[in-house]
């Protein structure tokens, strides 16, 4: 087929596309991801028993604020990286701000408590399982994000995969926050971050394989 014919063929079929297509699709992929993660959580671990009460406390929103912050930052990154030749942009600052916020809070809390309570505050009851649970809950979320991304054209596949993993990890961790009853910022800054970082790392490894076009 000659190139001119290909061009003629392509210009017979020009559905209009709107400017915000990437953002809208990635936002709906994120919602789908959250839905999938919630399903896994409900079937596997269930909600924490005192969820209604916990929603009136600071630590619950500290956790949610951190993971939602990472989710927003990840979504901003993915929205940029889905386009050819685009730099990651300001999503990085949102991620950095969320991380700085929770580590500062954790450090202040530790500084104000007695040294013999530090281990308990840092390790909580679930530090051995928390990162793995986040990883598993985020796996279906990751699939949904990749599904959303397939329609677009990332050119830096490992970086985009990492951003997709981070977004999925942020969503998974937010959902896991509905089960987890840890309440210290030091715990969240360490073990939540570890789980989400593992998601991003796996995303970076899988990106070049899954996102080719």
């Amino acid at each position: 087929m000659k190139t001119d014919e290909l061009i003629a063929l392509m210009s017979t079929d020009v559905a209009p596309v709107s400017a915000g297509a990437v953002g809208r699709r990635m936002a709906s992929a994120s919602l789908a991801a959250a839905g999938l993660a919630l399903m896994v959580l409900m079937v596997w671990l269930g909600l924490r028993h005192d969820l209604m009460g916990a929603m009136h406390t600071g630590p619950f929103w500290m956790k949610a604020g951190y993971t939602i912050g990472l989710t927003v930052g990840g979504l901003m990154l993915v929205e940029r990286l889905a386009r050819p030749g685009t730099a990651p942009g300001s999503g990085l600052w949102v991620l950095a701000a969320a991380f700085m916020g929770v580590t500062t809070l954790g450090a202040i809390n530790l500084a104000l408590s007695a040294p013999r309570q530090w281990a308990a505050a840092w390790l909580g009851d679930s530090w051995t399982v928390c990162p793995f649970r986040i990883l598993i809950i985020s796996a279906p979320a990751f699939a949904a994000i990749i599904w959303g991304l397939k329609r677009f054209a990332p050119t830096r596949l490992a970086l985009t995969g990492a951003a997709a993993g981070l977004l999925a990890g942020g969503i998974g961790a937010t959902i896991y926050g509905l089960h987890c009853n840890e309440s210290t910022a030091a715990f969240v800054a360490t073990w939540y971050t570890l789980g989400i970082a593992a998601c991003a790392g796996i995303g970076a490894l899988l990106g070049p394989r899954l996102l080719r076009w």
Partner: protein, 169 residues
């Protein structure tokens, strides 16, 4: 590009055909003029610009975006073919006797690829492509509605792009 995004087919075609000239220059500088894969790459890239046009942000300049697509396709091509092609000195004569890559002398036979499409898709694509019918005429000939023809062509193009990339893997 902007008018193409709004659904103006003629403007879209103009954009694609002027891009095809730039792309031919871009790839021939990097692969050597007359490289056998030149036209394949141009077509791959045009197809990607067309199918991935949602990933263009109208607030950004268009040319860097299009060249980023071309660069991605070029890197992908090098990865598949094992970096840059080299040939031993004894065979250097062949390098100079390259077939004159007349435009459209494509290694990959896209008509053969077309044959792998479902009947309805293939027929409308051939009508519109080979015999130069308008979409309306193709619709009449196949008994489909105009929008069904457009949808067939769109799906056909997508399927072709997928086949091409599967074949290269």
């Amino acid at each position: 590009m902007l008018r193409g995004l709004a659904g103006d087919g003629a403007a879209h075609g103009e954009m694609l055909s002027s891009m095809s000239r730039y792309l031919r220059g871009y790839f021939s500088r990097r692969l050597g003029a007359g490289a056998a894969d030149l036209e394949d790459l141009v077509q791959d890239t045009l197809l990607a610009i067309h199918l991935k046009r949602e990933a263009y942000d109208p607030a950004q300049p268009f040319t860097p975006w299009a060249y980023a697509v071309a660069r991605y396709k070029l890197i992908d091509h090098f990865r598949r073919t094992g970096a840059r092609p080299t040939s031993p000195l004894e065979d250097a004569g062949e390098l100079f006797a390259v077939e004159t890559a007349e435009e459209g002398a494509v290694r990959r036979d896209l008509s053969k690829l077309l044959g792998t499409l479902p009947e309805r898709q293939r027929q409308v694509m051939i009508d519109v492509k080979l015999t130069g019918h308008t979409v309306e005429e193709a619709a009449q000939r196949s008994g489909m509605s105009i929008s069904a023809v457009k949808v067939s062509i769109h799906r056909g193009l997508k399927a072709l792009a997928k086949r091409v990339s599967d074949e290269d893997r």
